[in-house]
Amino acid sequence: MTRHSLDFHPALRVLHWLIALAVLAMLFIGVGMVSTAGPLYPALLALHRPIGIVILVLVLIRLPLRLATGAPALPHNLAPLQKRIAAGSHILLYAAMIGMPLIGWAMLSAGSYPVLVVNGFTLPPILPHDLALYALLREAHTVVALLFFALILGHLAAALAHGLVRRDGVLRSMTLGHATAQPIEKTAASPASYDDAVDPVTVSVDKRTRVASDDA
C-alpha cells in the first residue's frame, strides 16, 4: 500500500480529474449546442451523447471505489457547518454526475429518439414513448445542468480556498497527494505513524501545517 491516509485513492484522483474534464466539457457543449441552429448544433450533439455515456460509465466505477476506499478526514479545525456543506455538496455532485446522463437517456427515450451513442451504436430506451414525460425531462436536463455548473463553481472555489488560503492539504488530497509530494518526510517519519495513528486528526494537523507551503 503506497496510498497515504491523507489522500484519496490514486485511482479516485485519476477518475476525479477525468470526470471533471468531461463534465466541464459537457456543460459547455450542452449550453453551446442549444444556443445555435448553425452547423455547430449537430456537431456538438454528436459529441454530447457519447461523452455523457462515458461520464456515466466512469462515475459508476468511481462511486463504488469511493465507498470502498473512503475519503481523507477533513481538517479538525474546519467548522462543523463547513464539514456538513462539504459532505452534502459531494453527495449532490455524485447525484448530478449520475443523474444528468440518466436524465438525458430517459429524455431521448420518452421522445422516441434513437439513443445514438456513436457510429450506429444505439442504447435501448429506458422509458416508454411519452411526450409529457419528455417535456418534463427536457426541462429537468437544463435546470439540473445549470445547478450542476453552480455546484461545480462552489466546489472549485472551496477547493482553491483550501489550497491557496487555508493551505490545509485538502486540495492536495485530490491532486498529487502527500506521499509522493513529500518523499523526504515519508522516509523521515515511520509510515505507521500516519496509517496506524491512534489519533489520526492530531497527526494530520501537525502534518498539514508543514505541507501547507506546498499548496501555495
Partner: protein, 358 residues
C-alpha cells in the same frame, strides 16, 4: 475561517478571478453574451409571428395525417450506401403527410408545400427519418434567410397577403426566394398526396462499403399520375380536401412510390437547397414505398415523433448544407414546445369523430 493569520487578499482575488472567468466563458458558450446567434427559439418565434401561435402543434406543417406501410428495397441502393435500408428486403415505415403552415385547421387550398415525412426502421436497430416536400428546391438556403422570410411574409390582417412595403425589399435582397415563388407559380400543385413527388430538399453524404463518399439527393416518385389543383379556384376547395381524398383513396387501395437516389455531378451545388440539380444525373432506383393505411394523428403513430432529417443510419450522413442543422434544431425546439403544451385535435381527427358518431 478559523485561521488566525491575516486574510490573504491575493489568493481570494485569484479564486474570484478563476470563478468569474469560468462564468464568463459559460455565458459566452451559452450565447448569453457576445455575438447574437440564431437558435431554435428564434426560428419558432418567427414562425409564430408569421402564422400565429398554435400551442400543442408542430410550428410548421401543423396539419397532418399519419400513415404506415413498407419500403421494399431492391438492393440497388447498396451501390451508394451501406445503410441496411438499401439491402434487399422489406422494412416497416411510418410517416406523415402534411401541408405547410402552423395552423392545424388551415384550408388545403393554398399553393404551399405538400409534404411527406418518413421513419424507416431496419433490423439492425437503426432509424432513418426523412422530412420531404413536393418541390425539388427550398425558398431559402440558410437559417437567417428563413427567419427573415417568415417575418417578411406575415399575412396582413386585412388583405391576407404580405405587406408589399416589407416584401419588396426582402425579395430584392433574396433573389432565391423570388426564384422559388416563380417556380411555385408555374409548377403543378398536386391534387392528391398520392400523386406528388417528394424530394429530400437537402443533399446528404452517402458512404458505400468501400468507404467511397458521394453527395446524394433523393426523391419518392409516385406511381399515380400527377394531376393538379386549379390554382384559380383554390379558395373554393373544401378545407380538408387533400386529407379526405387521401383517407378515401387509401380505403380503396395502397399507394406506391419509387425511391430514386440522385448522385451529385461535379459542380452541382450541394450546400444550397435553393439550387436544383439540372441535366442528366446518375440515378438509382432503390425500391418501392407502399403506403397501406392512414390514420388521424390522434390514432396514428406519427404525431408524437420528431421527423428530424438528421436522424440517419450508418451509411448516410449530413452534407455541407447548413440548412440541415437549422432544420434539426428548429424541429427539436418545436417538438419540445408542443410536448410541454400537450397535443390538440387534428383536422382529420375531426372527420373521424363525425363519421364515428354517425
Amino acid at each position: 475561517m478559523s485561521s488566525d493569520r491575516r486574510v490573504p487578499i491575493g489568493p481570494f482575488a485569484l479564486i474570484g478571478a478563476i470563478i468569474l472567468l469560468l462564468l464568463a466563458a459559460f455565458a459566452w458558450a451559452a450565447g448569453w453574451i457576445g455575438r447574437q446567434r440564431i437558435n431554435g427559439g428564434d426560428v419558432i418565434a418567427a414562425l409564430d409571428y408569421n402564422g400565429g401561435k398554435h400551442a400543442g402543434y408542430r410550428r410548421a406543417h401543423a396539419k397532418g395525417l399519419c400513415f404506415s406501410g413498407t419500403f421494399a428495397a431492391n438492393g440497388a441502393g447498396a451501390a451508394l450506401s451501406v445503410a441496411q435500408a438499401f439491402a434487399r428486403g422489406s422494412y416497416p415505415v411510418i410517416g406523415r403527410f402534411s401541408i405547410a403552415g402552423g395552423n392545424p385547421l388551415a384550408g388545403d387550398g393554398r399553393n404551399v408545400f405538400h409534404s411527406m415525412a418518413l421513419l424507416l426502421n431496419t433490423p439492425d436497430g437503426q432509424q432513418w427519418r426523412m422530412a420531404m416536400d413536393h418541390t425539388p428546391i427550398f425558398p431559402v438556403a440558410d437559417v437567417a434567410s428563413f427567419v427573415a422570410l417568415q417575418r417578411a411574409t406575415r399575412p396582413d390582417a386585412e388583405t391576407g397577403k404580405p405587406d408589399p412595403a416589407v416584401m419588396e425589399p426582402f425579395l430584392a435582397a433574396h433573389p432565391e426566394v423570388k426564384a422559388f415563388q416563380d417556380y411555385m407559380a408555374k409548377a403543378v400543385l398536386p391534387d392528391s398526396f398520392a400523386n406528388a413527388t417528394y424530394y429530400s430538399i437537402n443533399a446528404f453524404g452517402f458512404t458505400d462499403r468501400t468507404g467511397t463518399a458521394r453527395l446524394v439527393r433523393w426523391q419518392f416518385v409516385p406511381e399515380a399520375t400527377l394531376t393538379g389543383l386549379d390554382k384559380a379556384s383554390l379558395d373554393q376547395l373544401p378545407r380538408d380536401y387533400l386529407f379526405r381524398e387521401m383517407i378515401a383513396r387509401t380505403a380503396k387501395g395502397s399507394s406506391r412510390w419509387r425511391l430514386q437516389l440522385v448522385v451529385a455531378n461535379v459542380g452541382d451545388v450541394t450546400d444550397k437547397a435553393t439550387v436544383a440539380w439540372t441535366g442528366p444525373h446518375r440515378t438509382i432506383d432503390a425500391g418501392t414505398l407502399t403506403i397501406r393505411a392512414v390514420s388521424p394523428e390522434e390514432a396514428g403513430a406519427c404525431r408524437d415523433l420528431n421527423f428530424d432529417p438528421t436522424i440517419l443510419p450508418v451509411g448516410i450522413g449530413l452534407s455541407d448544407d447548413p440548412l440541415l442543422a437549422a432544420r434539426s434544431k428548429s424541429y427539436s425546439s418545436s417538438f419540445s414546445r408542443r410536448a410541454a403544451e400537450g397535443a390538440g385535435p387534428s383536422a382529420a381527427g375531426e372527420h373521424l369523430r363525425v363519421e364515428t358518431a354517425r
